[in-house]
Subunit: 301 residues, 2 copies
Amino acid sequence: MKLTILGCHSALPKLGHNVSAQILEIQNEIFLIDCGEGTQLLLRRNKIKFSRIKNIFISHLHGDHYFGLVGLISTFSLLNRTNDLNIYGPLGIKDLILNQLKAGNSWTNFKLNFNELKDTNPLTIFKSEFIEVSTIPLNHRIYTNGFIFKEINLPKRINQHAAKLKKINIAYYNKLKQGYDVFNELNEKILNSEVTFDSRPTKSYAYCSDTQYDESIIEQLKNCSVLYHESTFLDKHIKLAKSTKHSTAKQAAMIAKKASVELLILGHYSSRYNSYQDFLNEAKLIFNNVILSEDNKIINI
Amino acid sequence: MKLTILGCHSALPKLGHNVSAQILEIQNEIFLIDCGEGTQLLLRRNKIKFSRIKNIFISHLHGDHYFGLVGLISTFSLLNRTNDLNIYGPLGIKDLILNQLKAGNSWTNFKLNFNELKDTNPLTIFKSEFIEVSTIPLNHRIYTNGFIFKEINLPKRINQHAAKLKKINIAYYNKLKQGYDVFNELNEKILNSEVTFDSRPTKSYAYCSDTQYDESIIEQLKNCSVLYHESTFLDKHIKLAKSTKHSTAKQAAMIAKKASVELLILGHYSSRYNSYQDFLNEAKLIFNNVILSEDNKIINI
Protein backbone atom coordinates (compact mmCIF):
# COMPACT_ATOMS: atom_id res chain seq x y z
CA MET A 1 0.00 0.00 0.00
CA LYS A 2 1.50 3.30 -1.09
CA LEU A 3 0.07 6.71 -0.31
CA THR A 4 1.17 9.80 -2.23
CA ILE A 5 0.18 13.04 -0.57
CA LEU A 6 -0.22 15.50 -3.46
CA GLY A 7 -1.47 18.31 -1.27
CA CYS A 8 -2.23 18.53 2.43
CA HIS A 9 -3.06 22.15 3.14
CA SER A 10 -6.44 23.71 3.74
CA ALA A 11 -8.37 26.30 1.83
CA LEU A 12 -5.87 28.91 0.70
CA PRO A 13 -3.60 27.74 -2.10
CA LYS A 14 -0.28 29.50 -1.93
CA LEU A 15 3.13 28.91 -3.43
CA GLY A 16 4.46 25.63 -2.13
CA HIS A 17 1.18 24.87 -0.34
CA ASN A 18 -1.08 22.52 -2.24
CA VAL A 19 -4.66 21.80 -1.29
CA SER A 20 -6.18 18.37 -0.64
CA ALA A 21 -5.46 15.51 -3.02
CA GLN A 22 -4.01 12.06 -2.44
CA ILE A 23 -3.24 8.99 -4.49
CA LEU A 24 -3.69 5.62 -2.81
CA GLU A 25 -2.10 2.64 -4.55
CA ILE A 26 -3.31 -0.67 -3.26
CA GLN A 27 -3.55 -4.12 -4.85
CA ASN A 28 -2.39 -2.64 -8.19
CA GLU A 29 -5.27 -0.20 -8.31
CA ILE A 30 -4.92 3.52 -7.77
CA PHE A 31 -7.52 5.83 -6.27
CA LEU A 32 -7.54 9.61 -6.35
CA ILE A 33 -8.95 11.03 -3.13
CA ASP A 34 -10.04 14.67 -3.34
CA CYS A 35 -8.89 16.89 -6.14
CA GLY A 36 -8.17 20.52 -5.22
CA GLU A 37 -7.14 23.13 -7.77
CA GLY A 38 -3.86 22.21 -9.44
CA THR A 39 -4.12 18.46 -8.78
CA GLN A 40 -3.40 17.60 -12.41
CA LEU A 41 -0.02 19.32 -12.17
CA LEU A 42 0.77 17.47 -8.96
CA LEU A 43 -0.10 14.17 -10.62
CA ARG A 44 2.39 15.07 -13.34
CA ARG A 45 5.03 16.04 -10.80
CA ASN A 46 4.58 12.71 -9.04
CA LYS A 47 4.61 10.82 -12.35
CA ILE A 48 1.17 9.27 -11.81
CA LYS A 49 -0.08 7.97 -15.13
CA PHE A 50 -3.42 9.61 -15.90
CA SER A 51 -4.74 6.48 -17.59
CA ARG A 52 -4.38 4.50 -14.36
CA ILE A 53 -6.85 6.75 -12.56
CA LYS A 54 -10.24 5.12 -12.89
CA ASN A 55 -11.91 6.03 -9.61
CA ILE A 56 -12.01 9.44 -7.95
CA PHE A 57 -13.46 10.03 -4.50
CA ILE A 58 -14.52 13.55 -3.51
CA SER A 59 -15.19 14.11 0.19
CA HIS A 60 -17.21 17.32 -0.08
CA LEU A 61 -17.91 20.35 -2.20
CA HIS A 62 -15.59 22.91 -0.65
CA GLY A 63 -13.31 24.21 -3.37
CA ASP A 64 -10.03 23.08 -1.85
CA HIS A 65 -11.26 19.50 -2.25
CA TYR A 66 -12.64 19.48 -5.80
CA PHE A 67 -11.96 22.64 -7.86
CA GLY A 68 -9.28 20.71 -9.76
CA LEU A 69 -11.67 17.97 -10.86
CA VAL A 70 -13.21 19.64 -13.91
CA GLY A 71 -9.78 20.57 -15.24
CA LEU A 72 -8.52 17.04 -14.77
CA ILE A 73 -11.54 15.62 -16.62
CA SER A 74 -11.02 18.14 -19.44
CA THR A 75 -7.39 17.15 -19.71
CA PHE A 76 -8.31 13.45 -19.81
CA SER A 77 -10.60 14.32 -22.70
CA LEU A 78 -7.96 16.30 -24.59
CA LEU A 79 -5.63 13.35 -24.19
CA ASN A 80 -8.22 11.14 -25.90
CA ARG A 81 -8.86 8.95 -22.89
CA THR A 82 -11.13 6.04 -23.69
CA ASN A 83 -11.38 4.29 -20.29
CA ASP A 84 -14.44 4.92 -18.15
CA LEU A 85 -13.99 7.30 -15.24
CA ASN A 86 -15.98 6.81 -12.03
CA ILE A 87 -16.53 9.71 -9.69
CA TYR A 88 -17.87 9.27 -6.17
CA GLY A 89 -18.97 12.50 -4.51
CA PRO A 90 -21.80 14.43 -2.91
CA LEU A 91 -25.12 14.87 -4.64
CA GLY A 92 -24.80 17.88 -6.93
CA ILE A 93 -21.29 17.16 -8.18
CA LYS A 94 -22.58 15.77 -11.47
CA ASP A 95 -24.38 18.95 -12.46
CA LEU A 96 -21.50 21.16 -11.37
CA ILE A 97 -19.06 19.27 -13.57
CA LEU A 98 -21.32 18.61 -16.54
CA ASN A 99 -22.55 22.21 -16.71
CA GLN A 100 -18.97 23.40 -17.05
CA LEU A 101 -18.21 20.89 -19.78
CA LYS A 102 -21.45 21.85 -21.51
CA ALA A 103 -20.62 25.58 -21.40
CA GLY A 104 -17.35 24.79 -23.15
CA ASN A 105 -19.11 22.51 -25.61
CA SER A 106 -16.46 20.01 -24.58
CA TRP A 107 -18.00 16.64 -23.91
CA THR A 108 -15.81 13.76 -22.92
CA ASN A 109 -15.12 10.97 -25.38
CA PHE A 110 -15.04 8.49 -22.52
CA LYS A 111 -17.80 7.38 -20.21
CA LEU A 112 -18.11 9.51 -17.10
CA ASN A 113 -20.01 7.74 -14.33
CA PHE A 114 -21.12 9.77 -11.36
CA ASN A 115 -22.03 8.03 -8.13
CA GLU A 116 -23.68 10.78 -6.15
CA LEU A 117 -23.82 10.33 -2.40
CA LYS A 118 -26.41 11.62 0.03
CA ASP A 119 -26.58 8.91 2.71
CA THR A 120 -25.61 9.82 6.21
CA ASN A 121 -24.89 6.23 7.17
CA PRO A 122 -21.78 4.30 6.12
CA LEU A 123 -22.21 2.77 2.69
CA THR A 124 -20.07 0.46 0.60
CA ILE A 125 -19.70 2.38 -2.65
CA PHE A 126 -16.97 0.45 -4.48
CA LYS A 127 -16.05 -3.20 -4.65
CA SER A 128 -13.50 -4.89 -6.89
CA GLU A 129 -11.91 -8.30 -6.55
CA PHE A 130 -9.48 -7.21 -3.85
CA ILE A 131 -10.66 -3.80 -2.62
CA GLU A 132 -13.76 -2.45 -0.96
CA VAL A 133 -14.42 1.24 -0.29
CA SER A 134 -17.00 2.53 2.16
CA THR A 135 -18.03 6.03 3.18
CA ILE A 136 -17.36 7.41 6.63
CA PRO A 137 -20.01 10.06 7.26
CA LEU A 138 -18.24 13.09 8.72
CA ASN A 139 -19.44 16.10 10.64
CA HIS A 140 -18.51 19.30 8.80
CA ARG A 141 -20.25 22.51 7.68
CA ILE A 142 -21.61 20.82 4.57
CA TYR A 143 -22.35 17.22 3.64
CA THR A 144 -19.03 15.38 3.84
CA ASN A 145 -17.78 11.82 3.67
CA GLY A 146 -14.51 10.26 4.57
CA PHE A 147 -13.60 7.00 2.85
CA ILE A 148 -12.16 3.73 4.09
CA PHE A 149 -10.29 1.52 1.64
CA LYS A 150 -9.99 -2.13 2.72
CA GLU A 151 -8.29 -5.11 1.21
CA ILE A 152 -10.61 -8.07 0.76
CA ASN A 153 -10.20 -11.63 -0.55
CA LEU A 154 -6.50 -11.74 0.18
CA PRO A 155 -4.96 -15.01 -1.11
CA LYS A 156 -4.22 -17.77 1.36
CA ARG A 157 -0.53 -18.55 1.75
CA ILE A 158 0.70 -21.98 0.59
CA ASN A 159 2.30 -24.19 3.21
CA GLN A 160 5.03 -25.30 0.78
CA HIS A 161 6.26 -28.13 2.94
CA ALA A 162 2.81 -29.63 3.50
CA ALA A 163 1.79 -29.16 -0.13
CA LYS A 164 4.87 -31.09 -1.32
CA LEU A 165 4.29 -33.87 1.16
CA LYS A 166 0.70 -34.13 -0.07
CA LYS A 167 2.01 -34.33 -3.65
CA ILE A 168 -0.02 -31.43 -4.97
CA ASN A 169 0.93 -30.34 -8.46
CA ILE A 170 2.13 -26.71 -8.52
CA ALA A 171 -0.53 -25.97 -11.16
CA TYR A 172 -3.14 -26.17 -8.38
CA TYR A 173 -1.47 -23.62 -6.07
CA ASN A 174 -3.60 -20.75 -7.38
CA LYS A 175 -6.74 -22.70 -6.54
CA LEU A 176 -5.34 -23.27 -3.06
CA LYS A 177 -4.64 -19.54 -2.65
CA GLN A 178 -8.26 -18.89 -3.50
CA GLY A 179 -9.34 -21.30 -0.75
CA TYR A 180 -10.43 -24.30 -2.79
CA ASP A 181 -9.79 -27.95 -1.95
CA VAL A 182 -7.84 -29.73 -4.72
CA PHE A 183 -6.93 -33.25 -5.91
CA ASN A 184 -3.31 -34.35 -5.68
CA GLU A 185 -1.23 -36.41 -8.12
CA LEU A 186 -2.60 -39.62 -6.58
CA ASN A 187 -6.09 -38.27 -7.24
CA GLU A 188 -6.79 -37.92 -3.53
CA LYS A 189 -8.87 -34.96 -2.36
CA ILE A 190 -6.79 -32.61 -0.15
CA LEU A 191 -8.56 -30.17 2.13
CA ASN A 192 -7.44 -26.58 1.66
CA SER A 193 -6.76 -26.14 5.37
CA GLU A 194 -4.24 -29.03 5.32
CA VAL A 195 -1.81 -27.23 3.00
CA THR A 196 -2.37 -23.48 3.50
CA PHE A 197 -1.84 -20.77 6.06
CA ASP A 198 -4.26 -17.90 6.60
CA SER A 199 -3.76 -14.92 4.32
CA ARG A 200 -1.73 -12.06 5.75
CA PRO A 201 -3.73 -9.52 7.76
CA THR A 202 -5.66 -7.14 5.52
CA LYS A 203 -4.57 -3.52 5.32
CA SER A 204 -6.92 -0.58 5.34
CA TYR A 205 -6.66 3.16 4.84
CA ALA A 206 -9.14 5.67 6.23
CA TYR A 207 -9.29 9.25 4.94
CA CYS A 208 -11.11 11.69 7.21
CA SER A 209 -11.11 15.27 5.95
CA ASP A 210 -12.84 17.59 6.84
CA THR A 211 -14.56 16.99 10.16
CA GLN A 212 -15.00 18.24 13.66
CA TYR A 213 -14.13 15.89 16.51
CA ASP A 214 -16.74 13.16 16.33
CA GLU A 215 -16.48 9.88 18.21
CA SER A 216 -19.21 8.29 16.12
CA ILE A 217 -16.62 7.44 13.44
CA ILE A 218 -14.46 5.41 15.83
CA GLU A 219 -16.35 2.16 15.38
CA GLN A 220 -15.67 2.23 11.63
CA LEU A 221 -11.99 3.04 12.12
CA LYS A 222 -11.33 0.25 14.66
CA ASN A 223 -7.93 -1.40 14.07
CA CYS A 224 -7.48 0.22 10.69
CA SER A 225 -3.89 0.24 9.46
CA VAL A 226 -3.58 3.91 8.60
CA LEU A 227 -5.80 6.83 9.46
CA TYR A 228 -5.46 10.23 7.80
CA HIS A 229 -7.37 12.56 10.09
CA GLU A 230 -7.53 16.26 9.45
CA SER A 231 -5.84 18.54 11.96
CA THR A 232 -6.57 22.01 10.68
CA PHE A 233 -5.70 23.64 13.98
CA LEU A 234 -3.62 23.28 17.11
CA ASP A 235 -5.33 22.87 20.44
CA LYS A 236 -4.71 26.52 21.29
CA HIS A 237 -7.14 27.39 18.49
CA ILE A 238 -9.82 24.93 19.53
CA LYS A 239 -12.46 27.66 19.45
CA LEU A 240 -11.74 28.22 15.77
CA ALA A 241 -11.85 24.47 15.19
CA LYS A 242 -15.28 24.31 16.77
CA SER A 243 -16.72 27.30 14.92
CA THR A 244 -15.44 26.07 11.53
CA LYS A 245 -16.19 22.39 12.28
CA HIS A 246 -12.60 21.29 11.96
CA SER A 247 -10.34 19.30 14.32
CA THR A 248 -7.15 19.92 16.23
CA ALA A 249 -4.06 17.72 16.19
CA LYS A 250 -4.92 16.62 19.72
CA GLN A 251 -8.41 15.60 18.67
CA ALA A 252 -7.09 13.67 15.68
CA ALA A 253 -4.81 11.79 18.06
CA MET A 254 -7.69 11.05 20.42
CA ILE A 255 -9.64 9.49 17.56
CA ALA A 256 -6.60 7.45 16.50
CA LYS A 257 -6.09 6.21 20.06
CA LYS A 258 -9.70 5.30 20.67
CA ALA A 259 -9.86 3.47 17.33
CA SER A 260 -6.54 1.67 17.99
CA VAL A 261 -5.27 2.38 14.50
CA GLU A 262 -1.68 1.47 13.66
CA LEU A 263 -0.57 4.80 12.21
CA LEU A 264 -2.02 8.31 12.23
CA ILE A 265 -1.25 10.87 9.51
CA LEU A 266 -2.02 14.52 10.23
CA GLY A 267 -2.86 17.11 7.56
CA HIS A 268 -5.16 19.82 6.18
CA TYR A 269 -3.18 22.43 8.08
CA SER A 270 -4.55 25.96 8.30
CA SER A 271 -2.48 28.55 6.46
CA ARG A 272 -2.01 30.46 9.74
CA TYR A 273 0.80 28.08 10.70
CA ASN A 274 4.27 28.24 9.19
CA SER A 275 5.64 25.08 10.74
CA TYR A 276 3.94 21.85 11.67
CA GLN A 277 6.25 20.42 14.32
CA ASP A 278 3.79 21.57 17.00
CA PHE A 279 1.09 19.42 15.38
CA LEU A 280 3.31 16.39 15.75
CA ASN A 281 4.26 17.22 19.32
CA GLU A 282 0.67 17.85 20.32
CA ALA A 283 -0.57 14.58 18.82
CA LYS A 284 2.30 12.51 20.25
CA LEU A 285 1.23 13.37 23.78
CA ILE A 286 -1.88 11.30 23.10
CA PHE A 287 -0.89 8.80 20.41
CA ASN A 288 2.67 7.86 19.63
CA ASN A 289 2.64 6.47 16.10
CA VAL A 290 1.89 9.64 14.19
CA ILE A 291 3.48 11.36 11.19
CA LEU A 292 2.91 14.62 9.34
CA SER A 293 1.69 14.70 5.79
CA GLU A 294 3.67 16.90 3.40
CA ASP A 295 3.01 17.86 -0.19
CA ASN A 296 4.52 15.35 -2.63
CA LYS A 297 5.37 12.93 0.18
CA ILE A 298 5.20 9.21 -0.45
CA ILE A 299 4.26 7.00 2.47
CA ASN A 300 4.82 3.27 2.00
CA ILE A 301 2.72 1.18 4.31
CA MET B 1 1.59 50.17 -19.40
CA LYS B 2 2.89 46.92 -17.96
CA LEU B 3 1.77 43.48 -19.04
CA THR B 4 2.48 40.41 -16.91
CA ILE B 5 2.00 37.14 -18.73
CA LEU B 6 1.01 34.68 -16.02
CA GLY B 7 0.38 31.83 -18.44
CA CYS B 8 0.53 31.60 -22.21
CA HIS B 9 -0.03 27.94 -23.07
CA SER B 10 -3.13 26.32 -24.43
CA ALA B 11 -5.39 23.66 -23.03
CA LEU B 12 -3.12 21.11 -21.36
CA PRO B 13 -1.61 22.33 -18.11
CA LYS B 14 1.70 20.65 -17.50
CA LEU B 15 4.65 21.34 -15.23
CA GLY B 16 6.14 24.68 -16.19
CA HIS B 17 3.35 25.34 -18.70
CA ASN B 18 0.66 27.63 -17.39
CA VAL B 19 -2.62 28.25 -19.15
CA SER B 20 -4.04 31.64 -20.15
CA ALA B 21 -3.98 34.51 -17.67
CA GLN B 22 -2.53 38.00 -17.90
CA ILE B 23 -2.35 41.09 -15.74
CA LEU B 24 -2.48 44.44 -17.48
CA GLU B 25 -1.43 47.45 -15.43
CA ILE B 26 -2.39 50.75 -17.01
CA GLN B 27 -3.09 54.16 -15.50
CA ASN B 28 -2.69 52.71 -12.00
CA GLU B 29 -5.46 50.21 -12.56
CA ILE B 30 -4.92 46.49 -12.97
CA PHE B 31 -7.01 44.11 -15.03
CA LEU B 32 -6.95 40.34 -14.93
CA ILE B 33 -7.53 38.89 -18.39
CA ASP B 34 -8.54 35.23 -18.42
CA CYS B 35 -8.02 33.02 -15.42
CA GLY B 36 -6.99 29.43 -16.16
CA GLU B 37 -6.51 26.84 -13.43
CA GLY B 38 -3.75 27.83 -11.04
CA THR B 39 -3.95 31.58 -11.74
CA GLN B 40 -4.11 32.43 -8.06
CA LEU B 41 -0.73 30.82 -7.50
CA LEU B 42 0.73 32.71 -10.44
CA LEU B 43 -0.59 35.97 -9.03
CA ARG B 44 1.22 35.13 -5.81
CA ARG B 45 4.40 34.23 -7.66
CA ASN B 46 4.29 37.57 -9.49
CA LYS B 47 3.49 39.44 -6.28
CA ILE B 48 0.23 40.89 -7.61
CA LYS B 49 -1.81 42.16 -4.67
CA PHE B 50 -5.18 40.42 -4.71
CA SER B 51 -6.95 43.51 -3.37
CA ARG B 52 -5.89 45.52 -6.46
CA ILE B 53 -7.82 43.18 -8.76
CA LYS B 54 -11.22 44.72 -9.24
CA ASN B 55 -12.06 43.78 -12.81
CA ILE B 56 -11.67 40.38 -14.42
CA PHE B 57 -12.25 39.76 -18.13
CA ILE B 58 -12.96 36.22 -19.33
CA SER B 59 -12.73 35.65 -23.08
CA HIS B 60 -14.66 32.38 -23.28
CA LEU B 61 -15.75 29.33 -21.37
CA HIS B 62 -13.06 26.83 -22.33
CA GLY B 63 -11.45 25.59 -19.15
CA ASP B 64 -7.93 26.82 -19.86
CA HIS B 65 -9.33 30.37 -19.75
CA TYR B 66 -11.51 30.34 -16.63
CA PHE B 67 -11.24 27.19 -14.47
CA GLY B 68 -9.13 29.20 -12.01
CA LEU B 69 -11.79 31.86 -11.49
CA VAL B 70 -13.95 30.13 -8.89
CA GLY B 71 -10.90 29.29 -6.79
CA LEU B 72 -9.67 32.87 -6.97
CA ILE B 73 -13.07 34.19 -5.88
CA SER B 74 -13.16 31.67 -3.00
CA THR B 75 -9.72 32.77 -1.91
CA PHE B 76 -10.75 36.44 -2.04
CA SER B 77 -13.62 35.49 0.23
CA LEU B 78 -11.45 33.57 2.70
CA LEU B 79 -9.15 36.60 2.85
CA ASN B 80 -12.13 38.72 3.91
CA ARG B 81 -12.11 40.91 0.84
CA THR B 82 -14.59 43.76 1.07
CA ASN B 83 -14.09 45.49 -2.31
CA ASP B 84 -16.55 44.79 -5.10
CA LEU B 85 -15.36 42.44 -7.82
CA ASN B 86 -16.56 42.88 -11.41
CA ILE B 87 -16.47 39.97 -13.80
CA TYR B 88 -16.96 40.38 -17.54
CA GLY B 89 -17.53 37.16 -19.42
CA PRO B 90 -19.87 35.14 -21.62
CA LEU B 91 -23.49 34.59 -20.70
CA GLY B 92 -23.63 31.60 -18.40
CA ILE B 93 -20.53 32.41 -16.36
CA LYS B 94 -22.59 33.76 -13.46
CA ASP B 95 -24.48 30.52 -12.92
CA LEU B 96 -21.36 28.39 -13.30
CA ILE B 97 -19.57 30.34 -10.60
CA LEU B 98 -22.47 30.92 -8.23
CA ASN B 99 -23.61 27.29 -8.35
CA GLN B 100 -20.18 26.21 -7.18
CA LEU B 101 -20.16 28.73 -4.35
CA LYS B 102 -23.69 27.67 -3.44
CA ALA B 103 -22.75 23.97 -3.34
CA GLY B 104 -19.99 24.84 -0.88
CA ASN B 105 -22.35 27.07 1.11
CA SER B 106 -19.59 29.64 0.71
CA TRP B 107 -21.04 32.96 -0.30
CA THR B 108 -18.75 35.91 -0.77
CA ASN B 109 -18.74 38.68 1.78
CA PHE B 110 -18.04 41.18 -0.99
CA LYS B 111 -20.22 42.24 -3.90
CA LEU B 112 -19.75 40.11 -6.97
CA ASN B 113 -20.99 41.83 -10.10
CA PHE B 114 -21.31 39.78 -13.26
CA ASN B 115 -21.48 41.50 -16.60
CA GLU B 116 -22.54 38.72 -18.91
CA LEU B 117 -21.83 39.18 -22.59
CA LYS B 118 -23.74 37.83 -25.55
CA ASP B 119 -23.35 40.54 -28.19
CA THR B 120 -21.56 39.67 -31.39
CA ASN B 121 -20.74 43.29 -32.16
CA PRO B 122 -18.02 45.29 -30.41
CA LEU B 123 -19.27 46.80 -27.18
CA THR B 124 -17.76 49.17 -24.65
CA ILE B 125 -18.10 47.24 -21.41
CA PHE B 126 -15.94 49.24 -19.00
CA LYS B 127 -15.16 52.91 -18.62
CA SER B 128 -13.27 54.66 -15.85
CA GLU B 129 -11.72 58.13 -15.83
CA PHE B 130 -8.70 57.09 -17.88
CA ILE B 131 -9.48 53.66 -19.36
CA GLU B 132 -12.07 52.24 -21.68
CA VAL B 133 -12.46 48.55 -22.47
CA SER B 134 -14.35 47.17 -25.45
CA THR B 135 -15.02 43.66 -26.66
CA ILE B 136 -13.50 42.30 -29.86
CA PRO B 137 -15.87 39.58 -31.08
CA LEU B 138 -13.73 36.60 -32.09
CA ASN B 139 -14.33 33.58 -34.23
CA HIS B 140 -13.80 30.40 -32.22
CA ARG B 141 -15.63 27.15 -31.53
CA ILE B 142 -17.75 28.76 -28.83
CA TYR B 143 -18.79 32.35 -28.11
CA THR B 144 -15.57 34.28 -27.53
CA ASN B 145 -14.49 37.88 -27.07
CA GLY B 146 -11.14 39.55 -27.20
CA PHE B 147 -10.76 42.81 -25.31
CA ILE B 148 -9.16 46.11 -26.19
CA PHE B 149 -7.98 48.38 -23.37
CA LYS B 150 -7.53 52.02 -24.36
CA GLU B 151 -6.30 55.04 -22.51
CA ILE B 152 -8.74 57.94 -22.64
CA ASN B 153 -8.75 61.50 -21.29
CA LEU B 154 -4.97 61.72 -21.11
CA PRO B 155 -3.87 65.01 -19.52
CA LYS B 156 -2.61 67.78 -21.76
CA ARG B 157 1.05 68.61 -21.31
CA ILE B 158 1.92 72.03 -19.90
CA ASN B 159 4.05 74.29 -22.10
CA GLN B 160 6.11 75.43 -19.09
CA HIS B 161 7.76 78.28 -20.93
CA ALA B 162 4.51 79.73 -22.29
CA ALA B 163 2.68 79.25 -19.00
CA LYS B 164 5.35 81.23 -17.13
CA LEU B 165 5.32 84.00 -19.71
CA LYS B 166 1.55 84.21 -19.34
CA LYS B 167 2.00 84.45 -15.55
CA ILE B 168 -0.24 81.49 -14.72
CA ASN B 169 -0.11 80.41 -11.10
CA ILE B 170 1.12 76.83 -10.73
CA ALA B 171 -2.08 76.00 -8.80
CA TYR B 172 -3.98 76.17 -12.09
CA TYR B 173 -1.78 73.65 -13.92
CA ASN B 174 -4.12 70.75 -13.14
CA LYS B 175 -7.01 72.65 -14.70
CA LEU B 176 -4.84 73.23 -17.77
CA LYS B 177 -3.98 69.54 -17.98
CA GLN B 178 -7.70 68.80 -17.98
CA GLY B 179 -8.16 71.16 -20.95
CA TYR B 180 -9.76 74.16 -19.22
CA ASP B 181 -8.99 77.82 -19.92
CA VAL B 182 -7.77 79.66 -16.80
CA PHE B 183 -7.21 83.20 -15.44
CA ASN B 184 -3.66 84.34 -14.82
CA GLU B 185 -2.23 86.44 -11.96
CA LEU B 186 -3.26 89.64 -13.79
CA ASN B 187 -6.81 88.23 -13.98
CA GLU B 188 -6.58 87.86 -17.78
CA LYS B 189 -8.30 84.87 -19.35
CA ILE B 190 -5.74 82.55 -21.00
CA LEU B 191 -6.90 80.06 -23.62
CA ASN B 192 -5.84 76.51 -22.88
CA SER B 193 -4.32 76.07 -26.33
CA GLU B 194 -1.91 79.01 -25.70
CA VAL B 195 -0.08 77.25 -22.88
CA THR B 196 -0.44 73.50 -23.45
CA PHE B 197 0.74 70.82 -25.82
CA ASP B 198 -1.43 67.91 -26.88
CA SER B 199 -1.43 64.95 -24.53
CA ARG B 200 0.95 62.16 -25.43
CA PRO B 201 -0.45 59.57 -27.85
CA THR B 202 -2.80 57.15 -26.10
CA LYS B 203 -1.71 53.57 -25.63
CA SER B 204 -3.89 50.59 -26.21
CA TYR B 205 -3.65 46.85 -25.63
CA ALA B 206 -5.66 44.28 -27.55
CA TYR B 207 -6.02 40.70 -26.33
CA CYS B 208 -7.21 38.21 -28.95
CA SER B 209 -7.39 34.63 -27.70
CA ASP B 210 -8.80 32.26 -28.99
CA THR B 211 -9.71 32.83 -32.62
CA GLN B 212 -9.27 31.57 -36.12
CA TYR B 213 -7.83 33.96 -38.69
CA ASP B 214 -10.48 36.63 -39.13
CA GLU B 215 -9.86 39.94 -40.90
CA SER B 216 -13.05 41.42 -39.51
CA ILE B 217 -11.19 42.33 -36.30
CA ILE B 218 -8.58 44.43 -38.11
CA GLU B 219 -10.60 47.64 -38.11
CA GLN B 220 -10.83 47.55 -34.33
CA LEU B 221 -7.12 46.84 -33.94
CA LYS B 222 -5.96 49.66 -36.26
CA ASN B 223 -2.85 51.39 -34.91
CA CYS B 224 -3.17 49.78 -31.52
CA SER B 225 0.04 49.86 -29.48
CA VAL B 226 0.25 46.20 -28.56
CA LEU B 227 -1.63 43.23 -29.91
CA TYR B 228 -1.59 39.83 -28.21
CA HIS B 229 -2.86 37.47 -30.86
CA GLU B 230 -3.06 33.74 -30.26
CA SER B 231 -0.76 31.52 -32.32
CA THR B 232 -1.67 28.03 -31.22
CA PHE B 233 -0.01 26.43 -34.24
CA LEU B 234 2.75 26.86 -36.79
CA ASP B 235 1.85 27.26 -40.44
CA LYS B 236 2.73 23.62 -41.11
CA HIS B 237 -0.24 22.67 -38.95
CA ILE B 238 -2.69 25.07 -40.59
CA LYS B 239 -5.21 22.27 -41.12
CA LEU B 240 -5.33 21.70 -37.38
CA ALA B 241 -5.67 25.45 -36.85
CA LYS B 242 -8.65 25.52 -39.18
CA SER B 243 -10.39 22.49 -37.71
CA THR B 244 -9.98 23.74 -34.14
CA LYS B 245 -10.64 27.39 -35.04
CA HIS B 246 -7.25 28.59 -33.89
CA SER B 247 -4.57 30.64 -35.64
CA THR B 248 -0.99 30.12 -36.77
CA ALA B 249 1.94 32.41 -36.01
CA LYS B 250 1.91 33.51 -39.64
CA GLN B 251 -1.77 34.42 -39.46
CA ALA B 252 -1.24 36.38 -36.24
CA ALA B 253 1.50 38.33 -38.02
CA MET B 254 -0.79 39.01 -40.98
CA ILE B 255 -3.40 40.50 -38.68
CA ALA B 256 -0.74 42.62 -36.94
CA LYS B 257 0.56 43.87 -40.28
CA LYS B 258 -2.84 44.70 -41.73
CA ALA B 259 -3.83 46.50 -38.52
CA SER B 260 -0.49 48.37 -38.38
CA VAL B 261 -0.06 47.69 -34.69
CA GLU B 262 3.21 48.69 -33.05
CA LEU B 263 4.04 45.39 -31.35
CA LEU B 264 2.73 41.85 -31.69
CA ILE B 265 2.92 39.31 -28.88
CA LEU B 266 2.43 35.64 -29.74
CA GLY B 267 1.06 33.03 -27.34
CA HIS B 268 -1.42 30.25 -26.55
CA TYR B 269 1.02 27.68 -27.90
CA SER B 270 -0.16 24.13 -28.44
CA SER B 271 1.48 21.58 -26.16
CA ARG B 272 2.76 19.71 -29.25
CA TYR B 273 5.67 22.16 -29.51
CA ASN B 274 8.68 22.07 -27.23
CA SER B 275 10.31 25.28 -28.42
CA TYR B 276 8.77 28.48 -29.72
CA GLN B 277 11.60 29.98 -31.79
CA ASP B 278 9.87 28.78 -34.94
CA PHE B 279 6.80 30.83 -34.02
CA LEU B 280 8.97 33.94 -33.86
CA ASN B 281 10.76 33.15 -37.12
CA GLU B 282 7.53 32.43 -38.93
CA ALA B 283 5.86 35.64 -37.76
CA LYS B 284 8.92 37.79 -38.48
CA LEU B 285 8.74 36.93 -42.17
CA ILE B 286 5.49 38.92 -42.24
CA PHE B 287 5.75 41.43 -39.39
CA ASN B 288 8.99 42.47 -37.79
CA ASN B 289 8.10 43.84 -34.38
CA VAL B 290 7.03 40.65 -32.69
CA ILE B 291 7.90 38.95 -29.40
CA LEU B 292 7.03 35.67 -27.74
CA SER B 293 5.02 35.55 -24.57
CA GLU B 294 6.44 33.40 -21.77
CA ASP B 295 4.99 32.40 -18.43
CA ASN B 296 5.79 34.94 -15.72
CA LYS B 297 7.22 37.40 -18.25
CA ILE B 298 6.80 41.11 -17.70
CA ILE B 299 6.51 43.31 -20.76
CA ASN B 300 6.85 47.04 -20.18
CA ILE B 301 5.29 49.08 -22.95
